[in-house]
Amino acid sequence: MFGELIILSAVLFAVGAVGFLTRRNAFVVLMSLELMLNAANVVFVAASKQWGGPEGLASVLIVIAIAAAEAAVALAALLALFRVVGTEKIDEWRALRG
């Protein structure tokens, strides 16, 4: 079961990385980021069970808190950028001065 969860995590991380690298919609890029964070959580949970200690689960809670903070700041920045540039396509964000 431990090995299978590691493989699940690797696959989820790879899917998130592909989405992060290939999509142009800024929202989908952020969602791919959340996918990759979640893949890390799967490893923490599997290790916590294998070693029988609560530290892995504590790390999961910390990662979840960081993901929430990141989503709030990133979406606020994205909305502010959208108001200035008028598009959510990251290809068209060329000038980031301001």
Binding site: A14, T22, V28, L35, V45, Q50, G53, I64, A69, K89
Partner: protein
């Protein structure tokens, strides 16, 4: 025994929904399938080791973060992404190759690796809380500072008038 098969089924659904989520044109559909992915992972956490962490996963990810995404997408009122003829086939090709490489690397590195230690049963929320508040209390406090900073930063970013 049956729990293991439930976890495997949830894992397969999680991978499929992640794949669907990153290939939809409309970001709302991406958000919906991302929610399915979060729910599956919450189920895995619940059945595998800790119902508490599974519940937190579902409340924070499928509740708060996903609602934030859907709200932002709906505020902007985006049309369907006109993907059109993609100019980025090369990028996609190399991204997929790199992803397969990462998976292969992780599988070969961890193959035959038998971790030491005993498999625990479920780990209670009390144990997790004790680990957070006794051994790792510094990390806990740093996280609270990070959260308040993020909230203030988000409000400042949202209120600021920017001109090009």
């Amino acid at each position: 025994m049956i729990v293991e098969w439930v976890i495997r089924a949830l894992g397969i659904i999680a991978v499929l929904s992640a794949l669907v989520a990153i290939t939809r044109r409309n970001p709302i559909y991406s958000a919906v399938f991302l929610g399915l992915n979060f729910l599956c992972l919450g189920g895995i956490f619940t059945f595998y080791v800790s119902p508490f962490v599974g519940a937190v996963q579902i409340i924070v990810y499928a509740g708060a973060i996903l609602v934030l995404f859907v709200l932002a997408i709906m505020i902007l009122n985006l049309r369907d992404e006109d993907l059109g003829p993609s100019r980025r086939t090369v990028v996609k090709f190399f991204a997929v190759i790199a992803a397969i490489g990462v998976v292969w690397l992780i599988i070969t590195i961890t193959a035959g690796f038998v971790p030491p230690g005993r498999e625990a049963g479920t780990i209670s929320a009390a144990q997790v809380g004790r680990a957070l508040l006794e051994a790792h209390v510094v990390a806990f406090e740093v996280i609270s500072v990070l959260l308040i900073t993020a909230v203030v930063g988000a409000v400042v970013l949202a209120k600021k008038r920017m001109e090009v």
